[in-house]
Amino acid sequence: MLWGWTGVSLVLFIPCKDHWGLHGRITVLWVTLFSFAGVAGNQGLAYTNSRKLVVNSSSVFTVRYFRTTAVHRDDVVTVNTPAFAESVTEGDVRWEKAVGDTVAEDEVVCEIETDKTSVQVPAPAAGVIEALLVPDGGKVEGGTPLFKLRKTGAAPAKAKPAAAPPPPAAPEPAAAAAPAAAAAPIPTTMPPVPPVSAQPMDSLGSSVVAPAAAPVAAPPGEAVPSKGARSEHRVKMNRMRQRIAQRLKEAQNTCAMLTTFNEIDMSNIREMRAQHKDPFLKKHNLKLGFMSAFVKAAAFALQDQPVVNAVIDDTTKEIVYRDYVDISVAVATPRGLVVPVVRNVENMNFADIERAIHELGEKARKNELAIEDMDGGTFTISNGGVFGSLFGTPIINPPQSAILGMHAIFDRPPFTGTCPALGKARPPAAVLESRLAAGARSCWPPACQGSGCCRQGAGRDGPRP
């Protein structure tokens, strides 16, 4: 180490290996001394690691940096396969961590599988995995070198031991940074460092905490909790979702959609259900839900207004009318929305419909839905009411021409002329392809409401479509 004086500044030239393993790099520190006596005995002056030089304000040092390097004690360590127990000679390596991953002391880096036993191999110290010396699944014996670890001498930020290295611009665990910043006179935070690797940033994070704790003279009130952390978090979009969304959007671009909202008086259905649900369960071993009513009502309506059951063939510019009604029932699964189809609903009764829906539900639950279960459909019913939504605009399921969204049931006093009587209303939103259904628009809702099960309460003055 060379010393030189320039004026009242002390210049230190320190040759050492830097983080990139290049020898001969020189750290240049300008240290302006006002009180040399303060140096040695000052507890505030500490090389926690070489990236940080913490200075106690009372010793009146100010420090400016030109370059920083890491201090290395024993930097790279090779970890060998542990000895096997009970006369086992070899095992297979299964890596848990990859090259470049930061690990804490005792964190599992790999497992060795020997004869039905899984032995964990922990990291002997905190650091970064520099190299894996055996491929995944490779065979090793006791003592075979396994991996190289570059020690850092400080634990990685506790908050995210397994996450990807945070971008250098992201704030440190804010609790650490904030009190440090609050303690104004102490330059405990570094000027922004070039984004070379996460490791110095991590050690930066935790070493800010330790020394900052000692010299902080700020009143306790200024100790700032981690509110206001403004970091970002990027998650790659699921490929499947991307493609489905793309497809749907393409299809929608050809559709001119209009939505019509209506209310349906559900009192009759509720009464019917209350009356029949027990005998129904006994006879058919199935629960009598609302879907069978909706599906059957829709079937009637579609037969009454066949244009809504039809579809436009863009290639031949024809309208294709179907004399069967296949209703797609939208079901949300963890994988995304799936719409299995109940076929030939026009010939089914309530029990048949409930049975079909139940079977499809079972298949979906067991992950057994086949593609042909989901293919086709001339009309879709989506039950948004289970989520409590009051109104909504479901999106038409291409290539169909219409979709019916059923929403929550709520109480509404109908006006019967003299005094209000309580009724239950359920607003369906019918979204129609207006290229087809422009004429049907005025007839569709009453066709649905007027069909067998959804009769309006007597005297109720409902909204006109």
Binding site: M240, L369, M374
Partner: protein, 373 residues
């Protein structure tokens, strides 16, 4: 529930891995016998993890007795597609779990009992544990021809396997668990543990199939309940432990703090399927379409359960150009899971032109691809 002092103190966790706290007092050889109230495989595996990580085992041992409703349990580094018939599992509603110890795939049902011996790493001794089980069996049925092999299996009559073993060695603690077939459904066992998937290449740990037999077939007195009792007795005698069996509810967060999180983690797709070592699928299937049979070649590489590379080769002109690539591209990046194919395929169907023949071909192709998973 009111816990005996012994359980509470035994299950107290050391604060930090390197705690210098003195090990909990008590004579060397002190221990505990626990039995699970649940037959849910995930909950029971979570209890194993919990005890392994949280209990202080320096001077004590724990025996954990458990049984599961029908489930297949694969070893930590195995490939479920190579080990069992996933389609059959789904159809029968049999759960699939991945344990944290090594070894091969096993089928559990209520006719099979599981024994886990928890000790400190120093006291880890599999042969000792298995000899203990054999002694318990002989106590119930003195003329039973059972012995321990050098592969740590227990065999009946010299040729039928009635118990398989697996173990996990941590830094300071270890456990050894084994199964014991009392009255399991053997035909279902062999059907389920036979993989129908062709063309899989991987370096995952392979199972070694063996002929099995139930103890009940040999001696009707060897029911699960009696076996559990006998093993507990023998364990208590061997390790000078109170022979009282403590029942434990794996859903009780108060007794086992953190157990819900462990249970949930064991149920995630990322754990059960995603932890499969990298493998490749190189196979073909025959499509029968209108009196002609076409061969379709499929090549995929799967890492962390996700398809990284996908190639589907269909004879020319059978499908419009680019459609196969379309399917292959959609599959790349998706999970190697039939659900994903179903959703992708049906999404495409909703947007494709109204060509019944094309739709039919597409369905056929996708359905076959789905069956590879």
């Amino acid at each position: 529930m009111a816990l005996p002092w012994a359980l509470r103190s035994c299950l107290q966790r050391p604060c930090v891995l390197r705690s210098r706290r003195a090990p909990l007092g008590g004579a060397a050889g002190a221990g505990l016998i626990l039995q699970s109230l649940s037959d849910d495989v995930y909950q029971n595996l979570a209890v194993e993890d919990w005890i392994h990580e949280q209990a202080s085992l320096e001077n004590r041992q724990v025996l954990f007795l458990w049984r599961n409703a029908p489930a297949v349990v694969v070893g930590r580094h195995q490939n479920p597609w190579q080990e069992c018939d996933l389609g059959l599992l789904r159809q029968k509603g049999i759960k699939l779990a991945r344990r944290r110890s090594g070894g091969g795939a096993v089928y559990h049902d209520l006719g099979n009992i599981n024994l886990t011996f928890f000790t400190s790493r120093k006291r880890y001794e599999r042969m000792d544990n298995l000899e203990l089980v054999v002694r318990a069996l002989r106590a119930l049925s003195p003329r039973l021809d059972v012995r321990v092999t050098d592969r740590y299996d227990i065999v009946l009559g010299g040729r039928y396997k009635i118990s398989g073993t697996a173990a996990k060695l941590g830094r300071t603690a270890a456990y050894h668990h084994c199964t014991l077939l009392c009255g399991a459904d053997k035909s279902l066992l062999s059907a389920v543990l036979k993989s129908p998937y062709q063309g899989l290449r991987s370096n995952a740990t392979a199972s070694v199939p063996s002929a099995v037999r139930n103890l009940l077939e040999e001696d009707p007195a060897l029911t699960c309940e009696r076996l559990l009792e006998a093993v507990a007795e023998e364990y208590a005698a061997r390790h000078h432990v109170d022979r009282h069996v403590t029942l434990i509810n794996p859903a009780d967060e108060a007794v086992l703090p953190g157990i819900h999180r462990k249970t949930k983690e064991l149920q995630t797709w990322e754990w059960v399927y995603g932890k499969t070592p990298k493998f490749s699928v190189s196979t073909y299937f025959d499509l029968t379409y209108e009196d002609s049979v076409l061969q379709v070649k499929v090549d995929m590489e799967v890492k962390h359960g996700k398809i990284e590379v996908c190639n589907i080769d269909v004879p020319e002109q059978w499908l419009p150009p680019g459609l196969c690539q379309e399917l292959a591209k959609s599959l790349t990046g998706s999970r190697f899971c039939p659900d994903e194919v179903t959703v992708l395929a049906s999404a495409w169907l909703r947007t494709c032109p109204r060509d019944d023949e094309l739709r039919h071909k597409w369905n056929l192709l996708c359905e076959n691809v789905r069956m590879l998973m």
